[in-house]
């Protein structure tokens, strides 16, 4: 069995430049600026920040994107014990839950689609999303000059990190011939010209994982990619600081499968946003749940 990373997806902060300009603010870089922007943009029925709080993968991704910008990147210690329950994680949850107050009331049931719909319909001023390019182009104004994208704000304005997925193709076979044929096909797919076309199956969402791919003419030649080149370059830049919970610092522990499948990161947020627990209580309970499901 072997696997090869094929394309990358990284979370970003999306907004309309004109909306921020009208409010007299710039794209936020720190948590303080982020909260202030969300508050200021929450006018006339518009939600300043569309932030999910569902017990679902999208919320895992957005919460972790905040955690990695608040010094809570690691879920495990070096020996495989959990270190989820720490002051940085608590701080990240406190901030996220506070920011969620500027989200639509139904954000507790959101998946990716609802966030994109909220942004496209201008009901949300800002959203965290891998990409909104396709929906913005086809279902909203489609004005490339007005679509803003920035790195996820960090707690103190330092390094901007984000969640990042290198989606992989996995080959599972005992048949040598099949493995060889698969290898040949994946090599063919990763040749720059072919790779660019492959990535543009969904232009603006699938980002290259190879340096050659990022320069492939076929990638940049797609009309959608060409139109939103500025945004896509920013997304690729943001992905440089990508992290994935359970796969950081070269340490990987199998229990992350159960923790991820049961959306414990998102479940912890719901304990705060829906059940009214304090962030400290919820994170402590979250670590206990992680230990329980990891058994």
């Amino acid at each position: 069995m072997w696997a090869v990373p094929l394309y990358n997806m990284a979370m970003n902060l999306w907004y309309r430049k004109s909306v921020l300009e009208e409010a007299g603010i710039e794209a936020p870089k720190t948590w303080e600026e982020w909260r202030a922007a969300a508050e200021k943009l929450s006018v006339d029925g518009v939600s300043g920040m569309g932030l999910p709080a569902n017990k679902q993968l999208y919320t895992d991704q957005t919460v972790y994107s905040v955690m990695v910008n608040g010094g809570a990147t690691e879920i495990y210690n070096e020996d495989g014990t959990l270190r989820f329950d720490n002051p940085e994680t608590v701080g990240a949850y406190e901030f996220y839950a506070d920011l969620n107050k500027f989200s639509p009331a139904d954000s507790t049931s959101w998946t990716w689609g609802e966030a994109e719909a909220c942004f496209s319909s201008k009901a949300c001023a800002m959203v965290m999303q891998f990409s909104v390019i396709a929906t913005y182009d086809t279902q909203a104004e489609g004005d490339a000059a007005d679509l803003g994208v920035a790195a996820i704000p960090s707690k103190d304005g330092g390094d901007h990190n984000t969640i990042s997925y290198a989606n992989a193709v996995m080959l599972l076979s005992k048949d040598e011939a099949k493995m060889e044929a698969s290898k040949k096909f994946v090599s063919f797919l990763l040749e720059p010209d072919n790779y660019g076309r492959f990535l543009n199956m969904e232009p603006g969402l699938f980002m290259p994982v190879t340096a050659d791919g990022a320069e492939a003419e076929t990638f940049w030649a797609d009309p959608m990619v060409e139109k939103y080149r500025e945004q896509i370059e920013t997304v690729i830049d943001n992905a440089q600081n990508g992290r994935l919970f359970g796969f950081t610092s070269g340490r990987t522990f199998p229990s992350i499968a159960a923790i991820s499948a049961q959306n414990i990161i998102a479940e912890t947020l719901q304990s705060i946003v829906v059940s009214g627990q304090s962030a400290a209580e919820a994170v402590t309970a979250g670590q206990a749940r992680m230990q329980e499901v990891a058994q």
Partner: protein
């Protein structure tokens, strides 16, 4: 007599064999699984006796899901009965277009579940949905309502959507019961000066009661096992507020990778439903005897 019995057995045997293969065998497998410690499908498991039962029965999540299942069943039964009875009574009247109305009313029932979910998710959405702007324009609320935002609003909204989907089926069953009530009885009551309420109370309700009893049993069993609408709309959330037993079984098996524990919850749920069905059937039999 003996020949008739033998023939009856032969005629029933194929159905019994079919049921044994499709129901009995999986049930036996589920019981077997519940006595082992299998984590994922296809993985080997050791015999652990009643450990899973002990763990499940001491887990507050199980009791919470059981309670939510009861709330779900009762709320659906009440709402569906009220809606269905009202519609059935109207459709039992003679008015122009009644045939079209009888066909049209089952539309919500024949729409695929996924379509139902997409329609209602959009209608209730705070971003572009129709219901919130209507409520705001009517002055009922000031800000958009998150229908799936809290455990109780989510449960209430799910009950409404599920009832909307199922009440036409119940209404048609009730209509069938209503059409069996002879017109003569109503005519005689009218001659005796009975008003509409008296006719309903003295004729319609008592003669419809057996049909309602059967529907209550079938409806409870159907409602209890609803998984698709709940999972597609809330996945049992928020904060487990709509996690009924079928949702808990799915989560335990396919998200928690604890197949044996999920089988244990399934067996307990089956026992609960069998007990209900037996009690309800006996109650119906006693009703028939009277």
């Amino acid at each position: 007599m003996q020949q008739t019995r033998a023939l009856a057995f032969v005629l029933v045997a194929p159905a019994l064999l079919f049921l044994a293969a499709t129901l009995g065998w999986p049930l036996v497998q589920a019981v077997q699984l519940s006595l082992q410690d299998v984590r994922v499908i296809g993985a080997p498991g050791a015999f652990v006796g009643l450990d899973n039962y002990s763990r499940v029965l001491s887990n507050p999540s199980f009791w919470n899901a059981a309670w939510l299942s009861v709330v779900w069943v009762v709320a659906n039964a009440v709402l569906q009965t009220v809606l269905a009875l009202a519609v059935a009574l109207v459709l039992n009247e003679k008015f122009p277009g009644v045939r079209v109305a009888r066909t049209w009313v089952i539309l919500t029932w024949i729409v695929p579940t996924v379509v139902v979910v997409v329609i209602w998710r959009w209608l209730f959405s705070t971003s572009g949905g129709m219901i919130n702007p209507l409520l705001i324009q009517a002055g009922i609320v000031e800000r958009p309502v998150g229908f799936f935002a809290t455990p109780w609003t989510a449960m209430a909204t799910l009950v409404f959507i599920n009832s909307w989907r199922w009440f036409p089926f119940i209404a048609l069953m009730m209509l069938a019961g209503l059409t069996r009530i002879p017109d003569d009885l109503y005519e005689a009551a009218r001659i005796d000066g009975a008003n509409a309420w008296q006719r309903f109370k003295r004729i319609t309700w008592p003669l419809l009661a057996p049909t309602l009893g059967v529907l209550a049993v079938i409806g409870t069993l159907l409602s209890f096992n609803v998984f698709d609408i709940i999972w597609l709309l809330t996945s049992g959330g928020p904060a487990g507020g709509s996690r009924t037993l079928p949702v808990l079984i799915y989560e335990t098996a396919f998200k928690g990778y604890r197949l044996s524990e999920a089988a244990t919850v399934s067996v307990l749920a089956t026992l609960l439903l069998m007990a209900f069905a037996m009690v309800a059937t006996r109650a119906l039999d006693r009703g028939d005897d009277r």
